[in-house]
Subunit: 87 residues, 2 copies
DNA sequence: CACCATTTGTTCGTATGTATG
DNA sequence: GCATACATACGAACAAATGGT
């Protein structure tokens, strides 16, 4: 998956989409850390600001949470029916 | 109990949690000495500074007190219901 | 007294990561 | 992309207090 700059959709929305899908698929499981901003800069060829904008969307959706100095983490989803009571 | 570096919670908060629980359970009774910084370094695999930060939290909460050259001690808790005022 | 081992206290630096401009 | 600020974690060194010999 990558960003298409010719797409109608803004890059930050495309990225939000990509990440949302990875989370939905469990590729990044709840409680796990997302790649760092620098990593995503490299991976998607986007500006840090653009990436932060994407993350803001996901944060707003309650999908992820940030832990200053540690990273961005996938929150346990309410409609996630695996391991509700622990692992 | 151990520290999970992939957790959203910062290690120093995890450690503070662990120690708080040990104290609450009476595993480290009031007046007793906590393990030394070096001991905790070994036990939890954390840097001495990180451990100090945890202890600073507990000190701030009034759970423990430090005695330079001697160690860290569990303070008698105000809400400790033994012989508070046994008439 | 001096010496040493142990333990806490303090300060310097380095690296990573988030937040903001 | 960069600069700044802040939070977190690790490393190393030195100081000061304590206790035992």
């Amino acid at each position: 998956m990558s960003i298409n700059h010719d797409d109608v959709r803004a890059p930050y929305l495309q990225l939000a989409d990509i990440l949302r899908e990875r989370i939905a698929k469990g590729e990044i499981a709840p409680g796990k850390r997302l790649p760092s901003l620098m990593d995503m800069e490299r991976e998607f060829g986007l500006n840090q600001k653009t990436i932060r904008k994407s993350l803001a969307v996901l944060k707003d959706e309650g999908l992820i949470e940030s832990s200053p100095g540690r990273g961005m983490f996938v929150k346990a989803q309410p409609d996630d029916d695996r391991a509700e009571d622990g692992d």
